[in-house]
Amino acid sequence: MAEPRPVLEMAGIVKEFPGVRALSDVDFRLFPGEIHALMGENGAGKSTLIKVLTGVYSLDGGTITLDGRSVRIASPLQAQQAGISTVYQEVNLCPNLSVAENIFIGREPTRMGRIQWKRLRREAAELVDRLGLDIDVSAPLSSYPLAVQQLVAIVRSLNTGAGDGEGPGTKVLILDEPTSSLDRDEVLQLFALMRRLKEEGVAILFVSHFLDQIYEVCDRMTVLRNGTLVGEHMVSDLDQVGLVQLMLGKAMGQLDELHEHQLRSDAGDTLVQADGLGRTGGIAPFDLEIRKGEVIGLAGLLGSGRTELARLLFGADQPDTGKVTIGGRRVSMSAPNDAIGAGVAFCSENRKSEGLVPDLTVRENIILALQASRGWTRPIPVAQRDELVAKYIKALDIRPANPEARVGQLSGGNQQKVLLARWLITQPKLLILDEPTRGIDIGAKAEIQKLVVSLSEEGMSVLYIAAELEEVLRLSHTIGVLRDRRLVAQIANGPEITTSRILETIASGEHQ
């Protein structure tokens, strides 16, 4: 089969940041009507390649050819006008505007200079409908969980070229880890959408750390390691083991047998006891007992109330019914401080808006929670601080391993690790992890799961939320199933518990 001409060709791409060569001499091409995976570890340079292509960063060397014409793209707007639509790794929308406004912002339908609000809402609703999503476009974006916001970002990017007919329409669609917080159903919806666009001849660049997803939808892939090109392969020519080897530069041991992991014999003391805890509009009153060293996994669909439950246990939202005791003491949960004081830690799923302070350094972000609990008058002694930070940078393999680097400049996966380090350093009794492996590459993902197991063996309790059911099942002693903002079942994990049984429970709302 003769190869058609690529719609996009990047050659000899170089991008340098102060002290880091993020891309050196990378070639990349994209054919019309293909789904192309860009693969690599955290920090390999995937997002940077995308941002260079879309004009967020300027190029330090190399050429970009679009449709056979050499182009220089100086800004995201220009990229959009040239037919390149992008959904960046971090959702970049305005939370206090409505979904419809977010979809159309910057290119609202106008008549005589005035925005036609009715038309805007109607068209937004049509778009959302066409993609088979159930979203009220007049509600503020912030009223939806992160995953829905991510879908909105995708809808927004696709919408370029529609509306008033400006621009050539999407030729290239770039999706940088769009599935990291989606459930299976949303992922399938997204894939259906991607296949439809592919048939229309759109070239799609897809980044994901879920290998199964890559093998499900992609045709071709390009692998990066440490900012250099490792190779381009047809997906059908390379199996998963081979791919991982290319990405890491070495073979990786299979995920260790984590199933063995059992509750320690001295577990059994109740650490956290929630009675009738609830919040209207958030989650219906629930009872939950968490024992020392126990890992509780929460399963449920998007919007089923997993995050809401976690937030109540941390005092991030104030409960309006019920009570919580931690270690036998009643905790008021009127603010995160109360929970933190009782030894609870919470890694939010939304690392950008609820987690990191992008302007501060890796070191400052890591010590923030510990420092906050000591108060401003008692700074952590420098030597102790540096030692702690170095220890966790090493333990979690944060790259670059430079405590002075600004967190905003780290790759997505490494930012996630910084957030994790921040809470581990406080040595909590209960660690709440909301999508802790979001955006983390497979090597690091296995590391984090192992870490959860060893923490639990050392007696730390963990509340674990993940979109991937297998992950929840692998780690948890007990699985809490949520449905429609209600905790419907608590299932002791065992060999007879499978993902399909959990899915049944989610679907029916009861556990047999």
């Binding site: 050429t63 220089r72 220009q78 912002i105 808006s353 923030l368």
Partner: protein, 373 residues
């Protein structure tokens, strides 16, 4: 080749230092004065006091530095304090009216009491601002507008709408006196700056302030008591303004409720911005602010020495401030100087310089609105 590349990388490291542009502008502004005032840099001694343009810039700039240092912390938390000018007026009015009521205006105890009274009033103003912002959740710009407007009225009430003049040797010291050949106010400023730096960088206060300003929600979830921190910062800012108020009234031996500290809030905000602290909050630099305040003060001096017509004073000042702010924006620098660098790189790499832009018109108008993270 090697030497040139190391010097160029050293130069680049230098230009990237956060104080580089503010200091460069300050030096430039100082140099502009030389053709007009040839002895601009000379400092001479008379009556055991040092005199010279540089000394007066620091002397007259002292109140601004104080106010700007306090403002820096407020801005770092993501707030702003418009009331500092009014606080300057209130403090001066209270102190002077107390002293003028004394039999012996030169009595040290009376002067100390007057200053304490003035500063107490300032701190109460700060507490009020902090309360409105942190407890009531009012936008800082609105919350501090209240004292900005009402405070002047209070100052006038205190002075009965008059300009109170006093004659007090000890009071004169803080804003107009000399010590060890230097204006005493320089020592006051040095002490306040030193205390501020120690307070923020020797403790964890600076970090927590930057966290609150950099990401308020993340700070809440990390357990930072941001309300408490904000209240403290507004009180500290008002205290600095209060000291500036004492200085200004002491310098003129008079309290003018109407004009003391008028528009100083704007100069202070400018100084903070020139010093490299973002109005959005987060990272702050006290050193930068001091340089920024000196830039503003030098600019004011320069306007007089080079004889800009009085009517165009403000326009001239605005123009310089715009240039300074533009120079500090990396995006602007990339746009203006970037083409040269890119061409140089392309030449080195052997590639054709800047493969034709898709659409030059789009390139210039393409101000990214929201895509850039």
């Amino acid at each position: 080749m090697t030497t040139s590349s190391t010097t160029s990388s050293r130069w680049r490291a230098l230009t990237r230092h956060h104080l580089f542009w503010p200091v460069a502008v300050l030096v430039l502004l100082l140099l502009v004065n030389v053709p007009f005032t040839p002895d601009f840099f000379s400092v001479r001694m008379a009556d055991g006091h040092l005199y010279g343009s540089l000394v007066s810039i620091v002397l007259f700039g002292s109140p601004l530095i104080l106010v700007a240092v306090g403002m820096t912390l407020v801005i770092a938390t993501g707030g702003i304090d418009l009331s500092v000018g009014a606080v300057v007026a209130i403090t001066g009015a209270l102190a002077c009216s107390y002293i003028s009521d004394q039999h012996d205006q030169g009595a040290l105890s009376g002067v100390l009491l007057a200053m304490g009274l003035g500063l107490l009033a300032a701190v109460v103003c700060g507490l009020w601002n902090g309360f409105l912002v942190a407890r009531m959740g009012i936008q800082p710009i609105i919350a501090t507008l209240i004292i900005m407007v009402a405070g002047r009225g209070v100052a006038q009430l205190i002075t009965d709408g008059q300009i109170i003049t006093i004659n007090s040797e000890p009071y004169k010291l803080i804003g107009g006196g000399y010590w060890l050949t230097l204006p005493f106010s320089i020592f006051v400023v040095a002490a306040v700056v030193a205390v501020t730096v120690a307070l923020t960088r020797r403790t964890a206060l600076g970090l927590l302030v930057e966290a609150v300003g950099g990401n308020a929600e993340a700070s809440r979830l990390v357990g930072i008591r941001s309300r408490r921190i904000k209240i403290m910062v507004y009180m500290f800012c008002a205290l600095c303004a209060g000291i500036a108020g004492l200085m200004i009234s002491s310098n003129t031996s008079a309290a003018d409720g109407n004009n003391a500290g008028l528009w100083i809030e704007l100069d202070a905000i400018l100084a903070v911005v020139i010093g490299g602290t973002s109005l959005l909050g987060g990272r702050f630099s006290i050193g930068g602010t001091v340089v920024g305040a000196l830039v503003i003060q030098t600019l004011t001096t320069t306007i007089y020495t080079i004889g800009v017509p009085t009517q165009t004073n403000l326009v001239f000042k605005a123009a310089v401030v715009i240039v300074v702010c533009l120079l500090q924006s990396p995006k602007f620098r990339a746009k203006v100087f970037g083409a040269k660098f890119a061409a140089r790189f392309a030449a080195k790499g052997g590639a054709k310089p800047a493969a034709a832009t898709a659409d030059p018109a789009a390139a210039t108008e393409a101000a990214p609105k929201m895509e850039v993270s």
